[in-house]
Symmetry: C2
DNA sequence: ACCTGAACACCGTTCAAGT
DNA sequence: ACCTGAACACCGTTCAAGT
């Protein structure tokens, strides 16, 4: 594929290079630390260049959030299918560990800055990711929906509170074990 | 207290006036829509004036988040004390409804921009607010802690997912009833 | 077709100077 | 003690011009 070249982008795959560098910066510095001009500098291109590939900073962030949801989906689909109780616990743990392992990306996925109204790409990626969770509910009964939503809320809340440092981890306590206990609780 | 004056701030209570205007703007436009210069303009003061009262924009946001946690605390303390099962449900509903009624303020309280590390004021206000929830747990047993954290996570997650428009409200469905069902589920 | 250079209209923040 | 005016070092974004 790659014809050897010493003037790396300037022509070819700038969009891809921007996305990769942006993801690295995001994971390290968070959304607030990801400036378009810094990004352009990091990739060795003029400040205006990214605008040939993304309409705005928000569009760039949206693209990152979409790949976040895709990775989330992949993590969920990698769970081996077992019977309901074990499956549900496995999904819960995967959900929370994904959030912890990809903190700034996870935060971006749920950032209020990126209103999912009017960003259909993001909405679709998020819906696809959460469709993955539908296996939890035992069908479409009314109480099945309540059970599913309650489980989802618990797991999502746990992820968010841990990310926020709101849940105190005691000295020498195993975070993963605590997650398992909470997830498996009913 | 108030000596009648037609040159409103310029001397007296600018800090208070800034906080009130900031809260109004925050609730209407969200954190991203709250600029220090806009705020100064709204209050009729120079762009540099707020810096006599707040070290930075982040410090202003922190002050708003602190009042958010105080209001949250007040809402929780206003719940009449009953026996455990009803009390827990009432707290859960209050928690979620507070988030829905104060969307942008609630988001700010948990904004990753305001790292609670190194902002001891925020951390203290948050801790005070959540101490209010300790009534849930039936003591300090190990499983009591798990039950309490699981309940907290469920309620917080429900608030966040609803705020984010992630939980689909069906046509003609009563949001408050749905909240009650999820909160009361176990 | 894709990128650069220079500009525009903003920011948050600082600081000397005013009252 | 508290506020203003002007400046500094940035932003995101646009647009004519280059290749």
């Amino acid at each position: 594929m790659s014809t050897s070249s010493n003037a790396p982008y300037h022509h070819g795959n700038l969009r891809q290079a921007l996305l990769e560098a942006a993801l690295t910066i995001l994971q390290r510095d968070g959304e607030a630390g990801l400036g378009l001009r810094d990004l352009a500098r990091a990739v060795g291109v003029s400040a205006a260049a990214p605008y040939r590939h993304f309409d705005s900073r928000a569009a760039l962030l949206e693209a990152l959030a979409v790949t976040g949801f895709q990775r989330f989906t992949a993590a969920m689909e990698a769970i081996p299918l077992t019977n309901p109780p074990d499956l549900m616990a496995a999904m819960g743990k995967t959900y929370v560990l994904f959030a912890l392992d990809n903190a700034n990306l996870f935060r971006l996925m749920f950032s209020p800055q990126l209103k999912k109204d009017g960003r259909p790409g993001l909405r679709m990626a998020a819906d696809a990711a959460f469709d993955t969770l539908r296996h939890i509910s035992g069908g479409d009964t009314k109480t099945g929906r309540i059970v599913a939503l309650a489980a989802w809320a618990k797991v999502h809340g746990l992820a968010v509170l841990l990310l926020d440092g709101q849940i105190a981890i005691r000295a020498g306590e195993d975070t993963e074990a605590l997650i398992a206990e909470i997830v498996e609780h009913l």
